[in-house]
């Protein structure tokens, strides 16, 4: 059978409406599955079973506590490059019509960020531990 899910000439908003509806549908489906499993499966609670898995030991410390700062450093770097990519995408789409002007602009823009990356590298921000 030929697989044909014909795409109609849908307007801009309608397409996103589809995505939204599908997201709600999947959420509903997953939630229903969880509830159904809850109803079918046995549930015998006990205090031993409710303990955390800690390779057989009793948990001593609470894991909910501050975690190392190096995660934040990577998150900051990620943020910088993510925003950069958000600027590069529209440029990439119309690059063909921009010509030399577009190329020079991009070189300057990316070089500034590359210098930032090298700076972070030399400062040791990319070093784990």
């Amino acid at each position: 059978m030929a697989l044909v899910l014909l795409q109609q000439g849908a307007s801009y908003g309608t397409v996103y409406l589809y995505v939204g509806i599908f997201m709600l549908l999947v959420t509903g489906f997953v939630a229903t599955t969880l509830v159904l499993a809850r109803l079918i499966s046995p549930g015998r609670r006990s205090s031993t079973k409710a303990q955390n898995y800690e390779t057989g030991e009793i948990t001593v410390t609470d894991p909910w506590r501050p975690f190392p700062v190096r995660y934040y450093v990577f998150a900051l770097l990620f943020l910088v490059f993510d925003v950069e990519a958000a600027f590069l995408y529209p440029w990439a789409v119309i690059y063909k019509s921009l010509g030399v002007y577009g190329f020079v602009e991009m070189v300057i823009f990316v070089l500034i960020l590359a210098v930032g990356l090298i700076y972070a590298w030399k400062k040791g921000a990319l070093k784990w531990v």
């Binding site: 589809y18 046995p42 955390n52 894991p63 995660y71």
Partner: protein, 333 residues
């Protein structure tokens, strides 16, 4: 048959049928992939893999699902229950949602969004949220370790993943996946994986890290942190996390095929199958998924610092350099 195809032209019916088809596809892919995973690993280990349920063990996924449905759902006593139960949902939604924009065949795409590449990037990064929710909600040391590793890994590899798509976008001049596939043409040497080879390799590696497969399975790390962020999950919640992992693996393969390997396009013009071109899409996606499983048994797991070095010091510079090369080459030719 004709009346059925006619029904597809009426809008709400098309919507319902295509949604049902996509959901059916996602769930079945996840089931088939669990089976394939075990079979492939079996044959690579020179053993049979599951072979008891059904002919050659083919009904194993059905048996697994039935078993997991009837298993008790244990949650740790001091966990944050809503976050704990929300995590599988938060992981499953992005894995299923990306299928909406994947073009299976010339006319077979549920929603042809004109910024589909951005949509894909945005939705896959939500997966990291699910991992953090799972680890934080469990309130267990192993879970939190796995979740923090997962968050660091997934946001780090998000950067090369995003940057490696720029070359494709430049060459095709569009963010729509349908246009990108059409721009690649129906011969194997005009597909984008040849002019964009470094970007393709980067995308593949970053995608591997993004779906947390070996050698990037540090968030899970079953031999050191015994399952990582999913250590406290059991029964159906665990099954949903697994389904989400396999579904996102399938999504990553299909997007790789769409962007770099010509999507539904046949490798040579005379192999054009017309309306059946989705067969090509399926074959290529299956091949990519097989390589993902193959790598699992060929490469050892990276250490955390090696992982970060590979992402920031190798992959990001490669993408930036190849961005220059692509831009310069397009200017000259």
């Amino acid at each position: 048959m004709e009346t059925f195809l006619h029904l597809l032209e009426i809008e709400p019916i098309r919507l319902i049928i295509s949604f049902a088809a996509v959901l059916f596809l996602v769930l079945n892919l996840a089931a088939v992939l669990t089976m394939a995973e075990r079979k492939v690993s079996g044959y690579i280990h020179l053993r049979y893999g599951p072979n008891r349920v059904g002919p050659r063990g083919l009904l194993q996924p059905a048996a697994d699902v039935f078993k997991l449905f009837t298993k008790e759902n244990v949650s740790p006593g001091r966990s944050d229950l809503w976050v704990f139960l929300g995590a599988p949902i938060a992981m499953f939604i992005p894995a299923a949602l990306v299928w909406v924009v994947v073009p299976f065949a010339p006319d077979a795409v549920v929603a042809d969004i004109n910024v589909a590449v951005l949509f894909f990037v945005a939705i896959t990064s939500i997966g990291a949220l699910g991992v953090v929710m799972a680890g934080y909600g469990s309130r267990s040391a192993f879970s939190l370790l796995g979740a923090l590793r997962g968050a660091a890994q997934m946001i780090s590899y998000e950067v090369p993943l995003i940057l490696s798509l720029l070359g494709v976008v430049m060459l095709s001049g569009s963010l729509s996946l349908v246009d990108i596939v059409k721009a690649q043409g129906d011969t194997i040497w005009t597909w984008y994986f040849l002019p964009q080879l470094p970007m393709f390799v980067t995308f593949y590696i970053a995608g591997l890290a993004e779906v947390k497969r070996v050698p990037f399975d540090l968030p899970e790390g079953e031999s050191e942190i015994v399952g990582g962020f999913m250590v406290e999950y059991s029964g159906m919640t665990w099954a949903l996390i697994q389904a989400a992992e396999f579904a996102s693996m399938a999504v990553m393969s299909s997007i790789t095929v769409t962007l770099f390997l010509g999507g539904w396009q046949p490798p040579l013009p005379f192999l054009d199958l017309g309306n059946f071109n989705w067969v090509w899409f399926g074959i290529k996606t299956a091949l990519i998924m097989f390589t993902l499983q193959w790598i699992r048994w060929s490469v050892p797991r990276l250490r955390m610092d090696q992982l970060m070095d590979l992402g920031w010091k190798v992959l990001v510079p490669i993408t930036l350099i190849w961005l220059f090369v692509t831009a310069g080459a397009m200017l000259i030719f």
